[in-house]
């Protein structure tokens, strides 16, 4: 790890000012991607702005139609929250499947979503539920948020403060973990919402995406059979040591079927 300046602001404004004043600043939430990258010297920010002192970034709130989850809320809090378990149980389950107990105790929803790791679990929930990402400046629809591998619509210094999850009629998340890293080789989140079925897939491609083919099929008939014969284009899939593109494409359909089965 290279030397860096450490800041611990106690307000969002102060955090943003510190970021904008830094040569190469970065926000620190749970640090589960950032700190290992720094230790391996793959990341070398000049200024680390630790958000842990900003109380307003934490917490889970049921505001009627939505659940609002603060950016600094740890995965374990989401997984074990009675509010989430009753409001959007699939989101609590998704959080419970992230990493291991140590990761879940430190990693945060805001950090995960901002990082947009192609194999992270949360992006599937955010996109699948059609959540809104609230920042210090604006609100961004999930459909506009994840732009590419490790890239989002967040601008320089823009800070994700909370995520508003509309409560679906029902939802399910099914994950095929990478046996080594336990990230998602493929994770499929399916939500039945007032405006139809949403299918979001993580792990399979360079960025989380919605399968319009699956959504169309499930909107016409919500059944496992409706997904028969739908095979995603392997040409769009990731391929690595752990799973070829063809296998990932196959797993997308299998995991989607299993998610549907949970909802029937």
């Amino acid at each position: 790890m290279y030397d860096f300046n450490y800041h611990k602001p106690d307000s969002i404004d102060e955090a943003v000012q510190l970021f904008l004043g830094a040569e190469d600043g970065i926000y620190l939430a749970g640090g589960h991607t950032l700190l290992p990258s720094m230790k391996q010297r793959l990341a070398a920010p000049t200024d680390l702005i630790d958000l842990a002192g900003i109380d307003s970034l934490s917490g889970i709130e049921d505001v009627g139609a939505d659940l609002e989850i603060g950016a600094l809320t740890a995965h374990d809090e989401v997984a074990t929250s009675s509010v989430v378990q009753s409001g959007i149980p699939a989101l609590a389950e998704l959080a419970s499947l992230i990493g291991d107990a140590q990761v879940r105790n430190r990693g945060t929803i805001g950090g995960s979503v901002s990082n947009s790791d192609p194999a992270a679990d949360y992006p599937a929930g955010v996109l699948g539920l059609g959540a809104e990402i609230v920042t210090n400046k604006r609100t961004i629809a999930a459909d506009d948020f994840f732009t590419a591998m490790f890239e989002t619509a967040l601008e320089e210094g823009e800070l994700l403060t909370k995520i508003k999850f509309p409560k679906p009629e029902s939802a399910a998340y099914v994950k095929f973990p990478n046996p080594a890293s336990r990230y998602a080789t493929v994770g499929v989140f399916i939500a039945l919402t007032g405006s139809g079925v949403r299918v979001a897939i993580t792990g399979a491609a360079p960025s989380v995406f919605r399968s319009t083919d699956m959504e169309k099929a499930l909107n016409s008939e919500f059944s496992v059979e409706a997904l028969e014969g739908i095979t995603l284009d392997a040409g769009e899939m990731n391929s690595d040591l752990h799973a070829t593109a063809e296998y990932r494409a196959h797993l997308c359909t299998v995991m989607a079927k299993r998610a549907v089965l949970k909802l029937l």
Partner: protein, 783 residues
């Protein structure tokens, strides 16, 4: 009277300090004024090293010195030797290119050290290392084991990248038997390359004292005396009596800490050169790159049978990857620890094996838990299973039919070993019963009703442990003897300090050896302290590997303890005013026969050290004895493992629903520790069979350089283990023990692959049988 503890699951004496964080590992040791080392490593698999410019780095904060491979060469340090000479079938010696302490002119694998930066802190050393500029001229890399011999050549002295072409067995008779056989089963396989990943990375502190001219090296070693011998006699770092090696608590080895590596050696040399203590702890990434890897064979095998399925001959051709250099015992692993085990548990009359060992631009490959024996067992137990499938007979019955029977012992195999004792069918029967083999068909039907595939697989393994009769090892090319030392020091109050030349790095010797000695003396296990891992404390020893510690090291202690009892009887005879022949020692008491007179062990100890009333003219005072024990044969643990799996055909995900291991380890001192060794070994076997794979790309870059990509088995990957024991006592050592440390990793992989291929209904799925490979096999089988 103290309860006899042999055969009891005494809780491990060492665990209090480990569990409470009071262990003392190399990383826990800090010396006053110590500096820190960091290695500049090659980013290329194969390159000519040009100018190494250290000028910028030298001027960075905290830097004490930067030493390069060129300085190693200027100081004329010897290369790191390989301790086992293998001769090719044409009689020529194996090729042993110089393994430099740090590379001076050419690098041969990614991660090879080229320079050592010494600085006041770790961070300063690492920062400066980034500013050491090395000119590399990249050369084409040789990576694939199978294609290594088609070049280009890495070393001029090793044409075709071939280290040796070794053979064992009768070629003509084997060829003839295969030629005329009613049935021949053929099998081509890859034994996947593994990265050991001990929990504690390698670490060292080299501390040269200019006043005493002594060098102390604290290091993560399984065999500190051997490391000292190599550093003295071959690398010529320091004279043996001025070199002390301390291997304190060590967090796992699995073989990878047997070897003398570049880093520890460079540190020792640098400490003497600079006159400062230098500490180095490998980062996990360095462990992946530069610890010796394991396995990495490709083989073709043929098993010939008559009409009844009696084995007639086995012919094997193997290519074994040595990596870029010959590591300390690398050459012995695919030869005398592999070819000699190809008889397995069977009466195959003709066996012939050829092994070509090859150099590649990858990290050195050496012994890893099992070392050659897992490779042999995998080959034998897979081809036997394939033969059963081809013949349409039950795999258990084909094995039973060909097993060496109790009446056949001692049994001379066609591949050099003489098995002393065993009862393989008893282990097989017990395993079949514990695994409910008979009920498998019903369970398979249940799985099928649920849309799942189910399979069962056996493996009847044997291994050779207890390395080793020195004369035999020497005749086969070993550079050292393989006896072991032990000393039993009885203290004046009757407590006992035991010193052993073996080393415990997770095996629980401090408990097992204490039980062994306490039982002999009739004293409490708590009154025995076991000391190991310091060349300044105990006699020369050969260390821990090859499941040898109890059978060889324990035997040395047993002999030493007998000597203590003998001396005690003489002292007792004097004190009890009887003849020594009339003194019995039992349950901690020396008794004069046909009298009610006796002395306790503690009383005799006290008399030995306070010899006021003592046969001083005939007997020296004190009560401490040592023994050097050289075994007369290897030991032969054997058993049957049975794996049952259920597979989700949609994903290829395989669940081990039951794993049964029945082992014959001879006499067992502590069943809990033995069972733990089986659990750990089987976990590693499951890792090899289903999860672990070291991958280099075509340019020799390591693709699996972290736990994100290299899949170590975790608790939730493993089933509950069903473990059973059968016992035939080793005939030739005083403990009767055979060794248990490696059996799990040896016996389990073929059982797992046999089960998975049985479930899917295909001939073969290569290790690791990942979900994708299993899924593809299912697709192909259904197509």
């Amino acid at each position: 009277m103290v309860e006899q503890s042999i055969g009891k699951s005494v809780l491990r004496k060492e665990d209090l300090r480990f569990i409470t964080g009071n262990g003392r590992y190399t990383g826990d040791i800090d010396l006053r004024g110590q500096t820190h080392g960091y290695f500049v490593r090659s980013p290329y698999a194969h390159a000519v090293v040009g100018e190494v410019d250290t000028s910028e780095a030298r001027s960075m904060p905290g830097v004490v010195a930067i030493l390069t491979g060129k300085q190693v060469a200027e100081d004329e340090l010897g290369g790191l030797p390989c301790g086992w000479m293998i001769h090719s079938k044409d009689g020529s010696e194996m090729k042993q290119p110089l393994h430099p302490v740090m590379a001076a002119t050419k690098v041969n694998y990614v991660g090879e050290p080229v320079a050592l930066v010494v600085a006041d802190s770790f961070d300063e050393a690492k920062n400066a290392a980034e500013h050491v500029s090395v000119d590399y001229e990249e050369l084409p890399a040789v990576v694939s084991t199978a294609a290594a011999q088609s070049g280009p050549d890495i070393y001029a002295e090793a044409p075709g990248n071939t280290c040796y072409q070794w053979e064992l067995g009768e070629k003509a008779a084997t060829d003839a038997a295969i030629e005329g056989a009613a049935h021949v089963t053929r099998y081509s396989l890859t034994n996947n390359r593994l990265i050991p990943n001990a929990l504690e990375p390698r670490a060292a502190i080299a501390d040269f004292n200019r006043g005493t001219e002594e060098l102390t090296l604290y290091t993560t070693s399984q065999n500190p005396h051997l490391a000292r011998l190599i550093l003295t006699a071959f690398v010529q770092i320091a004279p043996e009596h001025k070199l002390r090696i301390i291997a304190p608590d060590v967090g796992g080895g699995f073989g990878s800490k047997i070897f003398v590596y570049s880093e520890e050696t460079a540190l020792a040399w640098a400490s003497m050169k600079l006159g400062v203590a230098i500490k180095w702890t490998a980062e996990r990434s360095e462990s992946f790159l530069a610890d010796a890897h394991g396995r990495d064979h490709v083989s073709d095998a043929e098993l010939a049978m008559d009409e009844e399925g009696n084995f007639l001959a086995l012919r094997v051709k193997t290519t074994a990857n040595m990596g870029a250099y010959l590591s300390t015992f690398a050459s012995a692993v695919p030869t005398y620890l592999y070819g000699t085990l190809l008889a397995g548990q069977y009466k195959t009359p003709n066996i012939y094996v050829e092994v070509d060992s090859v150099f590649t631009n990858t990290a050195p490959v050496d012994a890893y838990r099992g070392a050659g024996r897992p490779e042999a067992t995998f080959l034998v137990e897979r081809i036997v299973d394939l033969a059963a499938k081809e013949l349409g007979v039950d795999p258990a019955e084909l094995r039973r039919k060909n097993m060496i029977q109790p009446a056949d012992f001692p049994y001379q195999t066609p591949v050099a070993l003489e098995y002393d004792i065993g009862d393989y069918e008893v282990s097989l029967n017990k395993a079949l019963e514990m695994a409910d083999y008979a009920g498998f068909a019903n369970r398979k039907a249940d799985s099928e009703a649920n849309g799942k595939l189910r399979g069962i697989g056996l493996s009847c393994y044997i291994e050779a442990c207890g390395l080793a009769p020195s004369a035999l090892a020497g005749a086969l090319g070993a550079g050292v003897g393989l006896w072991e030392s032990g000393e039993v020091r009885v203290n004046p109050t009757g407590s006992v300090t035991v010193l052993t030349g073996t080393h415990s790095h997770g095996q629980g010797h401090e408990t097992t050896f204490a039980q062994l000695v306490a039982s002999r003396f009739g004293i409490s296990v708590d009154d025995v302290e076991v000391v190991h891992g310091d060349t300044g404390k105990m006699d020369f020893g050969l260390g821990t590997y090859g499941s040898r510690s109890l059978s060889v090291g324990g035997s040395a202690l047993s002999v030493a303890a007998d000597k203590v009892v003998e001396k005690g009887r003489k002292i007792a005879a004097h004190l009890l005013e009887g003849d020594v022949d009339n003194i019995d020692f039992e349950d901690g008491e020396f008794r004069l026969k046909e009298s009610n007179r006796s002395k306790t062990f503690q009383e005799i100890a006290f008399a030995a050290y306070v010899p006021h009333d003592y046969p001083i003219e005939e007997l020296e005072p004190g009560l401490a004895e040592k023994a050097f024990y050289d075994p007369v044969n290897f030991t032969y643990p054997a058993g049957t493992h049975i794996c049952e799996v259920e597979i989700d055909p949609e994903t290829g995900v395989t669940e081990i629903t039951k794993f049964t291991a029945v082992d014959d380890f001879g006499t067992i001192i502590n069943p809990m520790i033995v069972e733990g060794q089986v659990h750990g070994g089987v976990a590693q076997g499951i890792g090899q069979a289903m999860l672990e794979q070291c991958v280099y790309d075509e340019s020799g870059q390591l693709q699996t350089g972290s736990f994100m990509d290299y899949c170590m088995p975790r608790a939730d990957d493993l089933p509950n283990f069903t473990v059973g024991m059968t016992t035939t006592v080793c005939t030739h050592n005083p403990v009767g023990a055979k060794g248990c440390g490696e059996a799990g990793a040896i016996g389990s992989p073929p059982a797992i692959i046999n089960a998975i291929t049985d479930a899917v209904g295909v001939r073969d799925i290569s290790m690791p049988a990942t979900p994708e490979k299993v899924w593809r096999a299912i697709q192909e089988q259904r197509a």
